[in-house]
Symmetry: D2
Subunit: 343 residues, 4 copies
Amino acid sequence: MIIVLKKEADDAVARELLGQIEDFGLQPLHMPGVERTVLGALGDERILQKLHLQNHPMVESVRPVLSKYKLVSRELQPQDSHVQIGPVTIGGKGFTVIAGPCAVESFEQMLETAQKVKAEGAVMLRGGAFKPRTSPYSFQGLGLEGLEILKAVSRETGMPTVSELIDAKDLEAMVEHVSALQIGARNMQNFAMLKAVGETGHPVVLKRGMSATVEELLLAAEYIVSTGNANVVICERGIRTFETATRNTLDLNAVAFIKERSHLPVLVDPSHGTGIRSLVAPMAKAAVACGADGVMVEVHRDPAAALSDAAQSLAPEDFHALMAGLAPFVTAAGRNDLARAAR
Amino acid sequence: MIIVLKKEADDAVARELLGQIEDFGLQPLHMPGVERTVLGALGDERILQKLHLQNHPMVESVRPVLSKYKLVSRELQPQDSHVQIGPVTIGGKGFTVIAGPCAVESFEQMLETAQKVKAEGAVMLRGGAFKPRTSPYSFQGLGLEGLEILKAVSRETGMPTVSELIDAKDLEAMVEHVSALQIGARNMQNFAMLKAVGETGHPVVLKRGMSATVEELLLAAEYIVSTGNANVVICERGIRTFETATRNTLDLNAVAFIKERSHLPVLVDPSHGTGIRSLVAPMAKAAVACGADGVMVEVHRDPAAALSDAAQSLAPEDFHALMAGLAPFVTAAGRNDLARAAR
Amino acid sequence: MIIVLKKEADDAVARELLGQIEDFGLQPLHMPGVERTVLGALGDERILQKLHLQNHPMVESVRPVLSKYKLVSRELQPQDSHVQIGPVTIGGKGFTVIAGPCAVESFEQMLETAQKVKAEGAVMLRGGAFKPRTSPYSFQGLGLEGLEILKAVSRETGMPTVSELIDAKDLEAMVEHVSALQIGARNMQNFAMLKAVGETGHPVVLKRGMSATVEELLLAAEYIVSTGNANVVICERGIRTFETATRNTLDLNAVAFIKERSHLPVLVDPSHGTGIRSLVAPMAKAAVACGADGVMVEVHRDPAAALSDAAQSLAPEDFHALMAGLAPFVTAAGRNDLARAAR
Amino acid sequence: MIIVLKKEADDAVARELLGQIEDFGLQPLHMPGVERTVLGALGDERILQKLHLQNHPMVESVRPVLSKYKLVSRELQPQDSHVQIGPVTIGGKGFTVIAGPCAVESFEQMLETAQKVKAEGAVMLRGGAFKPRTSPYSFQGLGLEGLEILKAVSRETGMPTVSELIDAKDLEAMVEHVSALQIGARNMQNFAMLKAVGETGHPVVLKRGMSATVEELLLAAEYIVSTGNANVVICERGIRTFETATRNTLDLNAVAFIKERSHLPVLVDPSHGTGIRSLVAPMAKAAVACGADGVMVEVHRDPAAALSDAAQSLAPEDFHALMAGLAPFVTAAGRNDLARAAR
């Protein structure tokens, strides 16, 4: 339930109402805004009706939240959220390009890649230290050593980093070494992990599960935000359909739909979303066109030698072409230009 | 099999080789180009190998066609096809906007809609006279009367028209009244219909089936082209997946993929592709960004009163906004501007 | 709308009410039963309400049909339909086994296969004369010659036949040569074809489209039945999903669901439903267990030499094993034993 | 790689070869059988070829493992695995019926349900103490109190229990209180959890992910088995497709396919697989018919009052009917009768 206070309502009114909400066993939310204060009450809405909050002289309106997701919905917060990851803001006027290899392989590989993608306008570095692999016999990542490499390269280049968490026991080390935690597609409904990352307060990039509906994706985000951590960025990375020409089916409908319903920033991962190198650039352009706030792209200094995801990784020269081709679409979308983002 | 002739090869050489191909029971293809002539031979490639064409003094190279689709592939024809529908060229430098209601309801409705969308830059009119409806109890279209309305409105406005064929027995009437025949998603693998439209030589807009793979879609196009009718335009209109937030999942990966593998022009239908009015504009932008040659959009003068597809139809003012929003992306894609297309 | 008459209502009452229904522009249905007569009225139910039929002294109850499909629903007809195809009844106490090759290849091939499958308990013969093929370059069937072979083999063995219609222009020849018309998955929503087969009155085996929902499948059946042809048998043949280990995903949920909601008989095609020879027998057993009225199985005298669907065709000895394995499950399901069906 | 030793090979030979395998950095496996000993070597098969094991005088044959999954494949172990959970053996001659509510709600509820399902022939009890819920605002289970209830009811009734693990930090408590750990669909590719449950050595019921392919499912099982814990039971519970008539699409193809390729026991969950009470019984019958080793069914003493999954839970009288209906199919499948299993 959303309670909009009158302009003249002061802080004491807000505290009084929040107390009442809590007394009824519901979760109170305080959202002070520039113009007026909005309160939220989460829980059984039938109980809330007994409070008759609409009769309070300082309450302007009371309305139910219609979607199953509440905290992440535009019903609760109409304006876009901005998520700060180190020096980078995702969700604002800029269009954020995150790049890097699938997996951290060595310090030299990461540093070289980071410098090259930074020179082209990427502002954040991606790379997996722990890799979720379908087969137990595939390369599983460098682990803690990978995290240390990410931290060192971040220090060297000034780029914040994002890396995937695959085991909650690594959470402390992850928070210490990387700027944002990625929840991968396979763990999107690992609710224990969602709560755990929520409690760290660290920024989270939440990838859509392979067969997760948009509603389930937003409810997964709600799990994190409901712990009090609002620094959540959604990432569309393709869904699993009958089509096998591409690795996944990138669902840009979902991007436009989520931007309409939720205030959270939305990224697109055209590398996993297509699985084919030559399709990464056109789909990155489509991403900015349909309203995404950024893209996350796999770039490897030598794709042929990559230990994983070789077919979808861009070489540095491919990434250069992608950024050049992307620029006019970023401008068409009314976003700050990429070069400015990179400064 | 593709046979590239040497620069100095003259027409007599081509005729000689085509005769040999035919003698072996294969289908010969003659593709004279500016620089050099390319020949094709369709059929069992094991037979072709017995011809030893690579030994002919005027043959530069012989190579197999690797994809299952041959005539529609870029292996056979690297440069983009242009399909001419009345005064409109699809597949060239321009970006083609086709608009109109789901169903033809009356002359006044069609004329008013046509004039409004034309004023905004649409160059072609869509509207169903025969409607494929899931239930036998739903509105089935005006039939022949609808075709006559389309023809009259086309004469009045100068806009060519496209309308769906749902029964081969209507083919003659359709060819007489509309500029292009649409094969709907439900008939994409109605092979008898594909051959029948092919034989008319009339332009065809071939929509992707709800669960058709890209390969099946291109093979359906191949059915039409193999009858000798090269005027085929592909249309991506969303596929059926587990996601129910949107009516279909618009597969823009497929657009980028087909543009890479086939020379045929590709349209996108963001109306059926999303089923939600507010998502039509962002997905139209994404379509031009990923390389589509045009969009086909449902516009109704009064969506609330539409006899079908009300939820996804744009009102004239929505269409105005869509065209204004689309223009910078058309420019970013290096296409001719929409206004010029409309002249 | 369904109108149940009182026990004492005679034929004159039924005629009177049917006349009223017709006068309102609706489609009347007369379903005289053993105990009492049931009338149906198809069309806009708001109009029907104006009739106030519930006030008629001879009317016991009036209730709307809630599902979108009406004629095929158990709301309209609670008891199972029996569809007669030559000497074979589908939908009754027996479990019907239909067998034969994917495509008719020669008279000898069909006759030998027919004799072998008949000896094992199959009561009906399948075989395609016209083949819907994804590629225009694949074997397209023997055509009319194939139909003549089917007719000759049917005369020789006494087995009725079923074969797929792929072009409405072949309808007359099909009706003359085969006992039942198959609508294939690709034409399930070819509404013109559905109406055309309906009007012949010939028995129809309607296969589920690859991505057709159960509701769409039942509405496709409704198209046929609404022309007045009630001889419709549904066939589940697998749907298209992300899974590639099997050719399709056989949806036996749909069989149990349809048997609950519709009175039409339901067959299962485990050959197309799995695409893998060794899985045909276990899935045939599962079909009888979940309530199907029969199975349709591909059998070829020499699968390795089959011109199509080789991987899923059973050799005669595989079919022998299938029938032996199936028998106890047919008994467990309380069906007449297969040997009796074969007599 | 699989190394089959000659009949006369003794234990010393096996130890010698296992040592060589280990020296090359590969994982050795020792599988002594009644007739002869089989060794396995996991890892890069190119390295293995250098060992030239086929030249050893006591080696009968050496062959590569062709599937990506090795330990769980029939290539490695042709005969069925039996998994012992308390007094219950899954995977042998019997057909195992597991029943119980979706969630543990109270001691009385669990005890009453357990006694009722036991009386009908169920041999194992299911019930969630920790519930994975799509929304953070849904009932999340009783937690530790739920585990204690499960343990108490198990002691009272003698039935072993299975319950879902949703957070690795609960693992110790789970192992102490329940007989088998369930990995739910949402965590099937939570590789950290797979390894963790593997290391406990406790029996595991591994449910298929909503969009997991059969290969991914078997590789997830491989993760567990590769830690040295062979007590893994696979559970098919329906996949996510376009069909919405049923909650999921129960993929019985997968059951038949897995039984052919893997030696692990396979259960079917027709409750989640259909989501509709009336379809549970027909699909349970289909499960035994296609080769499943058991079913897991949701039963609640009062489904209308269930805190979760009400629509798919059977009342005790429904369960009675299910067991009565299932019995002849269990017999038809050549399995021990259910009553005997219950003794």
